[in-house]
Amino acid sequence: MDSVTSEQRRTLHSTADNGLKIVVVGGFGVGKTTLVRSVSEIRPLNTEETMTQAGEGVDDTAGVAAKSATTVAFDFGRISFDAHNVLYLFGAPGQERFWFLWDRLFSGTLGAVVLVDTRRLADSWYAIDRLEHHGTPFVVACNDFGGPAHTPARIRGALDLADEVPLVMCDARSRESSKQVLITLVEHLRTVVAPAVRPVPQPIPEPAP
């Protein structure tokens, strides 16, 4: 009974059976929720994951490891593509102290968008390190807050980005721009996820000396 005529689809098709995930990660106030909202068919919802750290001494009689529980809040939006596939976009904090939760939260994600503010590039170093370490494919999107314009080369240098990682400029408030960020990510995923049959080989750019 999803005959919602408004702009928002509130429920999924009864046939929906394949949830997909993309994570948007970045520092405080960098525009994660804004980007999710720009493309989501639902108003972003907020929830949280609590983790109890294994191996902590559980000393109270209740046996609840509440003392070592850590909570991370995240928000998410949704885009349903067709009768089967529905993409969930997660906006998650990129701070170091939340990272031990990520294995659990985001295992199986298609890939990630690292959202950065060029005035605070160092805020994303840790996120990039972790994604590289996990082998999670990602793109970097610079959200334009009107700071001084940096050349892509300079941003790449400051982030020590591998050549193959796409770097795009965006305005998270714009649906079109946010959509373009996601398209860039998925196009990148196509190149890192080896197809069963390789397409015509592309010339490999000479690595910089």
Partner: protein, 117 residues
């Protein structure tokens, strides 16, 4: 939504009560985006969270949406879902794709979907 951040006000005691103090054993199968579908209606006397889940999932609803709807942390929601799954009251449609299991068809479908946004 003016509601506060879910779970924020819940004391560990309340969460403990909801789940009977169990850990997350058996609930690991529920990914954040596993789609949950009710297989039965709520019955009188059922734990209210279980009944709420059955009402919420008449159409497929992701685990993370169930958590947000209940205003409970995902870890607690997973345990409640495992209860319902064990008794056949819900079914679960698990995600098929991940970057570790490359599936070009899925990526193509996502790309088409995004371009049509």
């Amino acid at each position: 939504m003016s509601r506060g951040r879910p779970g924020r006000d819940d004391s560990p005691d309340r969460l403990y009560t909801l789940t009977g103090g169990r850990s997350r054993a058996g609930s690991d199968a529920f990914d954040l985006v596993t789609l949950v579908v009710s297989e039965s209606d709520p019955v009188p006397g059922m734990q209210s969270e279980h009944a709420a889940i059955l009402r919420m999932c008449r159409l497929p609803t992701a685990v993370v949406e169930v958590a947000a709807g209940l205003g409970l942390p995902v870890s607690i929601t997973r345990i409640l879902l495992a209860d319902l799954h064990d008794t056949g009251r819900i079914s679960a449609r698990h995600p098929r794709a991940s970057y570790r299991l490359p599936d070009h068809d899925i990526l193509e479908q996502v790309l088409v979907g995004l371009r049509n946004l």
